[in-house]
Symmetry: C2
Subunit: 419 residues, 2 copies
């Protein structure tokens, strides 16, 4: 029988004792931010657990890593510390362990109802890089922007292409987004200027970097997994008209930098390990620095819903899966450092839009509507691109035997441009 | 007669009392980092000045902004605070003011010989963006990478193109750089892989952002100058072979992210104001959000020297000037925020390579040697691109009447790739 917690967890919950994802929360509006893990409908306050001396292992027991307003210190402590903390917490929350279960006053302090807390960004993000690792997405975007002949560039199959993203405008799920203004392709002599008319979501996941590397010291691809703490869901909002006009020759800039939304709970690689699956075969074979002894993705079901203003329900517009990635998370990280670039704890590596092979598994409206030409249906209305008032919600989970290891939701609503 | 300091300042010094650039330094290897200003051959320790209560103005007098290990707090305090601090310091250091001049023990504590200190990055850099604002550079790069017909894209004259850079690998002048490894264009079936064979410098300057802006709230171009604290010299090291192979379609990534060097002293816009000059006329006229009431550059002479290993002297390979920029610093900043992107105090906005119109004013080896085809002479040897052991030094200053307002040096030496 599967491990069970004394905290009641519904079988459909994303947060059973098998998951224990890390986040940062405020128990009340004026309270200080502190780390927690999700368990059922509760958040376990790790500052309370650490202050009570319940982390009794040799590494975390001597640290103040959970008495911080973010997870950066814990992220930098490496996998043995992460494993020790996970083991302590699984024991503490298990149905057979009395320490917390039978201590009403401690339980009262340590377990906060999830609907009472405000979630924060779980870490300070020094740098955010975004990859372009789905072959289906690369092929579709290439076809739309550059034509159907040879839609994927010659370099794409040799390296995980990426660009630097904007760290300052990364926000936590639930934050509203103002429709960006900007320039688009000229109509007549002068560029279009005004609110973006092609506002899109991008279904992505992102890896949170654990220990970093020194400048000048690349990370070996076979050790790269030890530099990844866990994953979140990410919506890399994109203004396609701004992007299309600005991106040659230096890449996307204002078409992306107005906002990027993260789901609040970091699901650890340890919790995801049971859902590892073989990555697609790579042809041509990667260069030696990208050749992995074990090349794996994770089987994470993902879906995106759009809820127009005034609608009661979100309408699912796509279903995809992380397993479709061509370049693995570890290849992305190793490639990022091969030139000596240093990563730091808390850095964010986005996967790029995760599109699957089927038309109903495409990861953004650009692809789903073929640049607005074939609008998608939404419960009585249609969308080419996002309209003001639309709320986009991404969710995802792994299906275990009788439980789910899930990510919760990553959502944001579009507000109109200011006049 | 020009304002004079009681600290002796050679007429060729970059740091007379008219300059007073801000930096962060350690007086000894184990000492804590603290802010300072440069005066002649000395650094004035601002933590000492603040602790002694000598900042007596209404804003800085009540702040602990100089009891910090970086300048971010001061940067966020806005122009009135900057003007007040400058006025206090110019008075304190002037030849006619006895407070510091005649207090030997305070002078001893506050004035540290510049050759004894270790300079640090002056601020925590949240995000680093790099523009592409020199028309001459854009034209030359376009000709080299995409051919001489139509070398500048249609978008270039309508918007200051930029990309997000890597913040983690920004280092202070004097830091050695390891030659990056990476992929280059295939020779036969497989991409080249190994140490970059086209390592280059890029002569740039960068603006340091003062107060930021809220996400969703663009900065008006006519108020943008109040968001810029000052300028530094920047060498945006570039691996041209890595860049050329990777940059389509998402822009430069590993070709740049292995290192970027900053000069240590931030010269304030207040110190540069006497050297403001008209920016080039823009045709077509910019869109209204980029149209400035006053469109100005600064007349800052810049030069780059290369000193090969074993050589005694640096050999000047180019002389340029900030005044050649097509897009002004304020247009860059306003454009950066027009989509609502938030800037934070300490963010860095690079100008892009500053090339002038003449062949001897080009800002990188890519242009100077036309992609390695016409090597430059270096005192008995030649260079297509940089070789191991080469030390590149950029310097720059404004010429006042009997004094210079200078930036000191921005230098770095290339170490071989690790095996």
């Amino acid at each position: 029988m599967a491990l069970q917690s004394f905290v009641e967890v519904h079988p459909d919950s994303h947060f059973p004792i098998q998951n224990l994802p890390y986040g940062v929360f405020r128990p009340g509006p004026s309270a200080e931010a502190r780390p927690g893990v999700a368990i059922g409908d509760y958040v376990l306050d790790l500052s309370v657990v650490q202050s009570a001396g319940l982390f009794d292992g040799p590494i975390v027991g001597k640290s103040d890593c959970f008495l911080q307003p973010n997870l950066n210190k814990f992220l930098g402590m490496r996998r043995p510390a992460w494993k020790e903390a996970r083991s302590t917490l699984q024991k503490l929350l298990s149905s057979t362990e009395p320490t917390l279960r039978d201590n009403a006053s401690l339980r009262e302090k340590a377990l906060v109802p999830m609907n009472k807390v405000e979630m924060c960004l779980p870490m300070v993000i020094g740098d955010y890089s975004d990859f372009f690792s789905s072959m289906h997405h690369a092929r579709n975007c290439g076809s739309i922007f550059r034509g159907p002949e040879d839609p994927i560039g010659a370099n794409w199959f040799h390296l995980p292409i990426a660009y630097h993203g904007r760290a300052s405008s990364i926000v936590i799920s639930g934050t509203d987004l103002i429709r960006p203004k900007g320039q688009g392709h000229p109509i007549g002599n002068s560029p279009y200027f005004g609110p973006s008319r092609k506002l899109d979501f991008e279904l992505e996941m992102a890896a949170i970097v654990g220990p970093g590397n020194e400048l000048g010291k690349p990370v070996d691809v076979n050790e790269a997994a030890d530099h990844i703490f866990g994953l979140v869901i990410m919506n890399d909002w994109s203004a396609r008209d701004i992007q299309a006009w600005e991106y040659v020759p230096l890449g996307p800039f204002l078409g992306k930098s107005f906002g990027t939304t993260l789901s609040p709970w970091i699901v650890t690689l340890d919790a995801l390990e049971p859902f590892a699956c073989d990555a697609p075969k790579q042809d041509p074979p990667p260069l030696p620095y990208l050749a992995e002894k074990i090349s794996q993705n994770y089987d994470i079901s993902l879906e995106v819903g759009i809820k127009p203003a005034g609608h009661k329900n979100s309408c699912i517009v796509t279903r995809s899966n992380l397993k479709h990635l061509y370049w693995t998370l570890t290849q992305q990280l190793a490639h990022h450092t091969i030139n000596g670039c240093n990563l730091r704890p808390g850095d964010l590596l986005g996967t790029g839009t995760i599109s699957g092979p089927e038309p109903e598994s495409l990861g953004c409206l650009l692809e789903l509507t073929w640049n607005g030409q074939k609008p998608v249906s939404l419960d009585g209305t249609t969308r080419g691109f996002l309209e003001d008032g639309d709320e986009v919600t991404i969710t995802g989970y792994c299906k275990g035997n009788g439980y789910k290891v899930g990510f919760g939701t990553c959502s944001g609503k579009i507000l109109p441009s200011s006049p």
